[in-house]
Amino acid sequence: MYDVAIIGAGVVGSAIARELSKLCGNFCVLEREEDVCCGTSKANSAIIHAGFDAVPGTKKAALNVRGNAMMDALAKDLDIPFRRNGSLVVCTGEEDRGTLETLMERGQKNGVPGLRIVERDELLSMEPNLNDDVICALFAPTGGIVCPFDMTMGFAENACINGVSFFLDTEVTGIEKKADGYSLLTRRTDTKASETIDAKIIVNAAGIYADVFHNMVSESKLHITPRKGEYLLLDKDAGTHVSHTVFQLPSKMGKGVLVTPTIPGNLLVGPTAADVPDREAVNTTQAGLDFVAKTAGRSVKNIPLRQVITSFAGLRAHEDGDDFIIGEAADAPGFIDAAGIESPGLTSAPAIGELVAEIIRKKLSLRENPAFVPVRKGVLRPETLSMEERNRLIAEHPEYGNIICRCEMISEGEIMDAIHRPLGARSLDGVKRRTRAGMGRCQAGFCTPRTMEILEREVPMSIFDITKNGFGGTIIVGQSKEA
């Protein structure tokens, strides 16, 4: 029997797992996909929000500001690439100045430090590619960008080395109340084998499916609507088109289309906001991509849209109450929700982890884990080394001298690191999220066959079982001259 079973290995589930691993106990995380960071966590704006957007007094507001403040220490401990590039909410009409001021006041109430309105001249010197009709902007120096993969991996790997068990490819199909906790009915995605996992406490960090699990145990129903966000990702050549995260003034349907540099150095444009009925609808649409392309130009001019290298869509878990739902369900003791985690969910995740772990610590009277290791090293990036250091590394590990991904210049050594680290990569997308191999301008055209060879050899696994992103989608279907 586990003390705690967490449903969902996204950034929220992983952050909770990591916080729990600071305590003595028996913890596990269940994830239906083949890897951590496969849902909303992998397809979002990759922004650490300053916290001026949420309504004061809401959980979103408090956890956003707290999560933002935690990021410097976390980035250091967990080796998460993170940069406070500052964010700008751009105002293009004098009639909107009031809205911008309201936003600043809201941010100040939320406790966001350093907010100020920047007027046109200063604004254009900060960000020369802003649209010609900008008049002023709200500047938030604490706004930042992060790699959401690295952030989730950081939490998950650190939780894993501190003793949390991760069951991947494991889907929860039902929950039963027991005298001393809950039984989770699970099914393996690949073998379809079922198993029951018992835990005193269940944490519901199931993202877009969090209402489904909550409603299995509680009469006080939740309702989550998948809200699709589509994005365009541009070549690194366009990565310096803006240096800050540039927002348009928020509207009812979300924060509008933003334009931002990313941690690896690309330019990201998006998202749309469209409610969809299907919880699996992570497809892009022509209308959505057209909307992003058209709308982005409102705040930033001359975006080189010819340099799009990929597009993607993610689903935000929008709950009817419009706020995060965090805490024990009133009529289901021991069932703790971390539900309705939409934007600013990525930013808030560290604070949600802290909050949920504290609830559990009190409930189960858990002691501190004296063996807790607070640090995690990310995949070694030879590009950050001097030529001398790099040559020492290659002398010891020649695979770091062999470039596999030509666009991102990722070596065989980095891919091997991604495979052999805790919760290591087992798929092409798993390798991509950990190393960036295949994330560049050729979109894995060159490196796919080579990365497959490395997975085959290092995991080891059959080349015919290698998938792009999990069971049911192998890269190759057999040998030639078979059919």
Binding site: G401, M409, G472, A483
Partner: protein
């Protein structure tokens, strides 16, 4: 730091022919840097025949064509470093000369620097990806650029799928339609956005028509289904604006979508070195000696502009090798008069873009592509406002390269020439 007269980046058809040619011109000290574990480049996966008709007067497969050049390189004893990635090219500021510093890396030597008197860029090109095409839908397994699928099938012996839709009628796509069919896959349709094919006519006949594979011109993919594996693809007809026409959607169940939608010269190294690139070809802007905007840096093959035939790559690369050899021995004729070739009225670009009438070879092949399909039109060459040649062509299409020959002697008759213009004209000399 190691010193070479000539460093060639890339050991594919362009790099090999350039090396042999430079050696024939007396350059002893040559190094080829190749990122793959063998020479030959993309030819090694092009197992179809049809290569070498111009160069060898017979039809060879890709590996056979490559082997002929590899043998020459081996016989000449030209140094090659395989499995070696060039990371950076820059002008060697330390020596204060015009030498180039090439930084490369491999497993055994680590990261190392080479000083070169001249560099030939021969890195080839890459395929346009699904992402760059902005095709909406899911992002599952089963979407490949045609070249990636070609490598999997031909070099590794693996099948990427059994039921195939192909977007784009570039040559690799057509070749892969046949290849997948011969290996037992069902190729359901080839869709092409443009109203004409981007590939060679012979490939439509022997890769599609021979096997009854439909080619749908003015069609594109508008949706990809399947979360983990492609399950279906929807194509639709496009109008003159190349936007899908509602009501023309057709859904094909399939497990594979191959993309053959254009090649892009791979110029990240060139860009890093500061080489000026053409916004049309995405390759370096070069003069008659195939020298880029950086003195002593030459370019040839698909890194310069995408070719239709490897024979032309070899010819161009041989010229680059010869010019690099001249440069190494005699330096650069910096102050020679340079004139521009203007491409207008259907001519998308020319390679080279600049020529030096006093320095050029006796004859110079100027290659280009046209922007549309032209029937019974002429390629006209103007020295300033004077038409000096007009050659009729029954058919010209964007999928095939065109060329004209400029003669030094003829140019010499126009000592005050300001520029050359190449254009497509209708019969009787009317502009289009």
């Amino acid at each position: 730091m190691k010193y070479y007269d000539l460093v060639i980046v890339g050991g594919g058809p362009a790099g090999l022919a350039a090396a042999v040619s430079a050696r024939d011109c007396g350059i002893e000290d040559i190094l080829i840097l190749e990122r793959d574990n063998e020479l030959g480049g993309i030819l090694n996966q092009c197992i179809h025949n049809g290569f070498g008709l111009h160069t060898f007067k017979e039809e060879l497969t890709g590996p056979e064509y490559a082997a002929r050049f590899i043998d020459q390189v081996t016989e000449c004893g030209i140094d090659c470093k395989l499995h070696t990635m060039v990371m950076d090219i820059s002008v060697d500021t330390e020596t204060g000369s015009s030498r180039k510093k090439v930084t490369a890396m491999n497993r055994t030597d680590g990261m190392f620097e080479i000083s070169a008197a001249a560099v030939i860029l021969a890195m080839g090109c890459r395929e346009r990806s699904r992402g760059a095409l902005n095709i909406p839908g899911f992002r599952p397994a089963g979407i490949f650029s045609a070249g990636t699928a070609q490598r999997l099938v031909n070099m590794e012996g693996y099948m990427p799928g059994r039921e195939v839709v192909i977007l784009g009628s570039g040559d690799i796509g057509l070749i892969m339609a046949r290849r997948m069919t011969l290996e037992g896959a069902k190729v359901k349709v080839v869709a092409e956005l443009m109203p004409y094919s981007g590939g060679l006519k012979r490939n439509i006949v022997q890769c599609l028509d021979d096997f009854g594979i439909p080619l749908k011109l003015s069609h594109t993919v508008i949706d990809i289904e399947g979360k983990h594996q492609v399950s279906a693809v929807t194509i639709a007809e496009v109008g003159a604006d190349r936007k899908p026409i509602p009501g023309t959607e057709e859904r094909y169940t399939c497990d594979t979508l191959l993309l053959s939608c254009g090649l892009i010269p791979e110029n990240e190294l060139s860009k890093g070195a500061g080489v000026a690139l053409s916004p049309v070809t995405f390759g370096p802007v070069v003069n008659d000696s195939l020298e880029t905007s950086i003195e002593g840096v030459f370019a040839c093959g698909n890194v310069l502009h995408v070719h239709d035939l490897v024979d032309y790559v070899s010819q161009e690369a041989a010229a680059a090798g010869k010019h690099a050899a001249d440069y190494i021995r005699h330096g650069n004729k910096k102050h020679a008069k340079t004139i521009e070739i203007h491409s207008t009225d259907g001519v998308r670009y020319t390679v080279p873009k600049y020529i030096r009438p006093t320095e050029m070879s006796d004859t110079l092949t100027v290659r280009f592509r046209v922007g549309d399909v032209y029937k019974n039109c002429s390629i006209a060459v103007y020295f300033d406002d004077t038409c000096v040649s007009r050659r009729k062509r029954p058919v010209m299409a964007p999928g095939e390269m065109e060329q004209i020959i400029l003669e030094k002697k003829k140019l010499g008759e126009y000592p005050d020439i300001g520029s050359i213009t190449i254009r497509i004209e209708e019969e009787g000399g009317n502009l289009l």
